[in-house]
Amino acid sequence: MITLENLEKVYQTEEIETVALDNINLSIDKGEFVSVMGPSGCGKSTLLNMVGLLDIPTNGTVSIDENQIDGWTDKKLARFRNQKLGFIFQSFHLINDLPVLDNVELPLLYRSGISNKLRKEKALEALGKVGLSTRTRHYPGQLSGGQKQRVAIARAIVGQPDIILADEPTGNLDSKMGAEIMDILENLNENEKTTIVMVTHDERLANKTNRIIHLFDGMQVN
């Protein structure tokens, strides 16, 4: 379902050339829960950005669902991200000026043909799945770290994407909250058959996934 071929990402400045990803060849099946591990700066987040179509590879190709993402317009990329991908970030990235419900609705705002009512219904449904139905009118500043991450998960799943990309989703949480988040992700993978790619430093969480991909200095080492 997700195929990376000879993927290379080089960041170039006037003085220095940094190889963030070097010849990555990877295939992730539909419904698989994969974790990406490695030391800081090894290219985990860069890899996730490539899969999430947020960055363009220097060389190589990214294919998702047999679509080779190459030369796509900004509009096509945006539509694909909106419909196929869901993102979860370590620092939650919630908009503090918006209540929880509006934060969760956000991906649907960029999807055409969805009424305001349906948008609210879907957001409430997503919040129900993460156990936050009673916090819809709260603002992110009024929530705990674990609750914020659950809101972020609700936002990631509201559009029913096939793939969830989670960049250290438990990185800012204590172990108990981290475990709760991991449970939600496992449920999503098992029940909804959502493909999940999770970057993590936590070996215990990684061991719960189907497969661990190790990166070191931008290279795949396993």
């Binding site: 987040s45 999430g52 960055d55 509009k75 993102f87």
Partner: protein, 370 residues
Amino acid sequence: MIAEMFISMLLLFALSAMTINNIYHYNEPIGFDYANVWVLEMDFRGGQKDVAYKKQLIELLTSNIKSIPEVLEISNSSSCLPYSQGARMTTLYYKDKRIGNSNFINTDFHYAHALNLKVSEGRWYSVEDIGKKEIPIVINGKLKNVLFGDGSAIGEVIHSGMYKVVGLVDNYKIKGEFSKKSLVFFRMMKPDEFQNMLLVKTESGAGLAFEEQLTTVATSTAKEWTIKVSKLTEHRATSFKITWVPIIIFSSICGFLIINIIFGLFGILLYNINSRKPEIGLRRSVGATTGKIHQQFMGEMLMLTTLGIIPGVIVAVQFPLLKAFEIEPEIFLLAILGSTVVIYLLVLISSFIPSRYAAKTEPAVALHEK
């Protein structure tokens, strides 16, 4: 920012109203010719006090000036010349009407010819009116409308039998192009009466040599008076300055404020964008195109602008409703529309580049900004 928009709106509204008002009135006919007209302003204070002597001297002066070949006409009138800022006003009575602020100008028989006034109905007063019971007057179109509406004015006696309307000039804007139409009537001077102004109409092309000759004739004829010679075009130029200098000064102040506002908006939005980079990254990741990000920041600025403009419009609308400064309501409405459009344009211009910068921000980079 909302307060800035509110103040800008009111300042631009005031400036637009003044400018549109002037342009609006400029397009109305003034009703007289200012070209090739010279003005002799006489100060009688230095000479003999005897009225008959003064009258005799003015007649001599008129005769001597008329003998200059370029001179086509000469007229004696009171000091309320075209473009003069001063005015002589009176209140007129007609039946149950009381018409205040009516400008009146005392003139001789030649005034209409000297200024090429177009008498559309009736006639200008002449020798045949001397000795009549009522003083003949010629009124302008605005005064006619106020006094008689659609009815005929010619032959009507007003002001308790004092004046008789003998003629009508459709237009006569005493203060020139940029003034609004005012109520004016011309009153015939009595045979023994005289005024301190002489208007000299010449052939076109009379220049510096003529002015020298005119001055020489005037000062040599009436040695004991101080006589100031000028061209009506100079009075016109002065009137233009009086009209436009305050507007230019006000425009400069407004321009300075607007430049400050543009840079201020630019800075505020750029700061806002920089502090919201993670949000930009997030929106891109959930499906926003670069165009949507651009629209969002432009839209936010327009929304804030609207919040500032609404109270501004509410204040501005009071002016036409209250018919303030006797300015036509449509001028105020145009000014409201104009100032609103200008503010929106300025906001669009000042927010375009920062919004574009926001849209071009790489989502992968933006998501990792603190």
